[in-house]
């Protein structure tokens, strides 16, 4: 990751190449495993990439190296992790160039995923071409169903638009059946691939479940005032309000809903709703708000993870980043099962084995996480998982959302 270690690393490579060739023939254990990644550090998506992905990469590296490194059975030796990192500025073409560079020039052993749906999608073909297995941790798109099978080296860790929105629609249909709501739903979305797909998937599910979508509008990323939009939402008189939003607008919608006194009984915000800074800003007013993703705070290894997070990164963990950490654990477990850096075998292990992680038990079917957390909710100041309800640690829905005040 640091340029210095990278320079040292390359110096070591140059030094090693002057040694007699038979040193290589003996297949000595590598002195480090080099992970490369290209991710968005600057631009509007930089903050999300930092808190969701990059911080987890750093934490994982520290924890694994403190424990001696990744165990390579073939050499019976623990080998530390080293990073080579680049900033793709949120541009898919930069990402492709940099990934090519990581593989061709830096000759990294493994690749870690980029940030955001469109970047994950851009990365999948190229890592498949070079046969580097990568678990994509920040992609929510229906394309994983149609295009996913074409990219056997890409794995999809988080819940996709249908999986993420159908439980919401079903929960609302259940409330309607119980006579607790009349079934009027307002949905807004940020005009990005993620927001559009989530919104479309939800509206389709809602119609099937007999709900009435009374408002469905989109707004641009970077909106400076969402109060007029909220006024339209209020005018449509919904029981439930769902925002397929990105972090800055998640914060703004929540604040402005309080200003105008909009108190839906059921409120969902998408990305950013599980950030610790979200709770930092709104305090206990977050209780009852539903958000994208979820975790089981009682999952095995969670306590140690939470402690290490606070100690190393100097802040509490965030629910939306736990899945990223789980992908790193899967990667490590797969490498240790294979016992050497053989990317084909590592890929096959990820595709077939079951893994124990801080995000619960993980298994990939058709390269997609078979049962990811899809919906979470703030309860007693903590984010908990609601759906899938058959997962260990799943909690029942808190309804209605307490009024602001």
């Amino acid at each position: 990751m640091d340029r210095r270690t990278f320079v040292k690393g390359s110096a070591a490579v140059v030094g090693a190449s002057t040694l007699p060739h038979r040193v290589y023939a003996q297949a000595a254990a590598p002195d480090k495993i080099r992970f490369g990644y290209s991710i968005t550090q600057s631009g509007p998506l930089g903050p999300g990439a930092e808190s969701t992905s990059i911080s987890q990469y750093r934490l994982w590296q520290k924890r694994v190296n403190d424990a001696g490194g990744v165990m390579l059975k073939k050499f019976n030796k623990r080998v530390p992790i080293d990073f080579v990192a680049y900033d793709d500025q949120g541009k898919p073409d930069e990402l492709l160039k940099l990934t090519e560079r990581l593989i061709q020039q830096d000759r990294v052993d493994m690749i870690l995923g980029p940030y955001a749906t469109h970047m994950n999608l851009a990365s999948a073909p190229i890592i498949t071409k070079y046969e580097y297995p990568v678990i994509m941790t920040t992609a929510t798109t229906t394309k994983t169903y149609t295009l996913g099978p074409k990219w056997p080296y890409a794995f999809w860790n988080i819940s996709q638009p249908e999986e993420s929105t159908q439980p919401l629609s079903q929960a609302l249909a259940q409330l309607k059946k119980e006579g607790k709501i009349s079934g009027r739903v307002a949905v807004v979305n940020v005009a990005l691939e993620y927001g559009v797909e989530m919104s479309a998937a939800f509206v389709e599910a809602a119609k099937k479940d007999g709900l009435e979508v009374v408002l469905n509008k989109s707004y641009p990323l970077g909106s400076a005032d969402l109060q007029p939009l909220l006024r339209e939402v209020m005018a449509s008189n919904p029981d439930a309000f769902l925002a397929m939003s990105y972090p800055p607008d998640t914060f703004m919608l929540t604040e402005q809903a309080q200003i105008v006194g909009f108190n839906p009984k059921f409120m969902y915000v998408a990305i950013g709703g599980v950030f610790p800074t979200y709770k930092g800003k709104f305090g206990n007013k977050v209780n009852g708000i539903l958000a994208y993703g979820g975790i089981d705070p009682g999952a095995p290894g969670m306590d140690e993870y939470a402690k290490a997070h606070l100690a190393v990164l100097n802040k509490p963990y965030e629910a939306g980043a736990v899945n990223v950490y789980s992908a790193l654990q899967v990667t490590q477990q797969a490498i240790e099962t294979v016992g050497e850096i053989d990317r084909k075998k590592i890929r096959d292990v990820i595709a077939s084995a079951t893994f124990q992680t801080v995000w619960g038990e993980l298994k990939y079917v058709n390269q997609r996480n078979a049962n990811p957390w899809a919906v979470g909710q703030w309860q007693n100041g903590e984010i908990v998982g609601l759906h899938p309800s058959n997962k260990a640690g799943a909690k029942p829905l808190l309804f209605p959302k307490p009024a602001w005040s």
Binding site: Q41, S51, I54, Y219, G222
Partner: protein
């Protein structure tokens, strides 16, 4: 009634746009330096306000103005004296200078952004301050947005009075109109330009502090505010201080009403459409004398 509220909130939003642009217009209009690192001072003040309220003492974030504005003033003065003066001295004409300045301040942007990333990480931040509704004839506004609006008006009026009624202001206006002629009548152009540039930086900090009460921000979002400010400055006319606030208000109201009456998806498009219209009809800005 809702329409009235949307209009009022458009005014508040426009006040924010004007506020963000005031300092940039001082830097670009008087000192003739297009400072692309402008938004970094805005974001710096956001962070200082954030740490003032969330830090160990939990102080009123408004107090942070007493720290961030002087720091921004001093840093901008130093930037002018030690980075811009050499460029000004070696440039054969204003066009060549503009090109150099854009490159150098673009570089500065990344230096400041890098420092911010190292110190404060890239996390999204925000805090709650005066996040309470204010009722005015049935319409609801957020008190923190209202405060930023009043701050914008106060700063614009103060700046206007300084420019109109003080010797310092007369010197600045002379420089705005013609720096060469100003120096011929005894105005120390270098000294006054440096002060105007520094004051512009302090205004960036003041606007950042006020706006941070209701937006979320991170180390990398400064450039968005530089762009917004630049649009307002170009619309108002370079060097027009009160025009800056008026142009901001116009943008805010049109954006709000357009978003509400037509479609919320169009707010940013409406903004740029208005900007292009002004460029076509009055390329030197709305508030310049013909």
């Amino acid at each position: 009634m809702i329409l009235f509220e949307v209009f009022l909130n458009g005014l508040l939003l426009g006040g924010m746009y004007g506020l963000i642009a005031l300092g940039l217009n001082l830097q670009y209009g008087v000192a003739r330096i297009l400072n692309l690192a402008y938004g970094e001072f805005f974001i710096g003040a956001c962070f200082i306000a954030f740490f003032t309220i969330t830090g160990p003492w939990q102080l009123n974030p408004l107090l942070s103005l007493f720290v961030s504005a002087p720091i921004a003033f001093a840093m901008n003065w130093l930037i002018y004296q030690y980075l811009m003066i050499p460029l000004i001295q070696r440039a054969p004409d204003q066009d060549a200078l503009d090109a150099d300045v854009v490159l150098v301040t673009f570089g500065l942007l990344f230096v400041f952004q890098g420092l911010a990333l190292v110190n404060w990480s890239g996390d999204l931040r925000g805090y709650s301050f005066l996040s309470v509704p204010v009722h005015l004839v049935g319409a609801i506004m957020a008190l923190n947005r209202l405060l930023a609006f009043l701050g914008a008006c106060a700063l614009a009026v103060a700046l206007f009075l300084v420019l109109r009624h003080t010797r310092f202001g007369s010197a600045l206006r002379a420089i705005t109109i013609d720096p060469v002629a100003a120096s011929l009548v005894g105005v120390d152009v270098r000294k006054f330009s440096a002060l105007a540039f520094a004051a512009g930086g302090a205004l960036a900090a003041a606007s950042g502090m006020l706006v941070s009460t209701f937006i979320s921000f991170s180390s990398t979002t400064g450039v968005e505010y530089t762009l917004k400010a630049l649009i307002v400055v170009i619309m108002a006319g370079v060097g027009r201080v009160t025009g800056t606030l008026a142009a901001g208000l116009l943008l805010g109201v049109v954006e709000s009403l357009g978003g509400y009456l037509v479609d919320p998806g169009l707010t940013i498009a409406i903004n740029f459409a208005l900007f292009m219209l002004v460029l076509l009809v009055r390329p030197t800005g709305l508030f310049t004398r013909a």
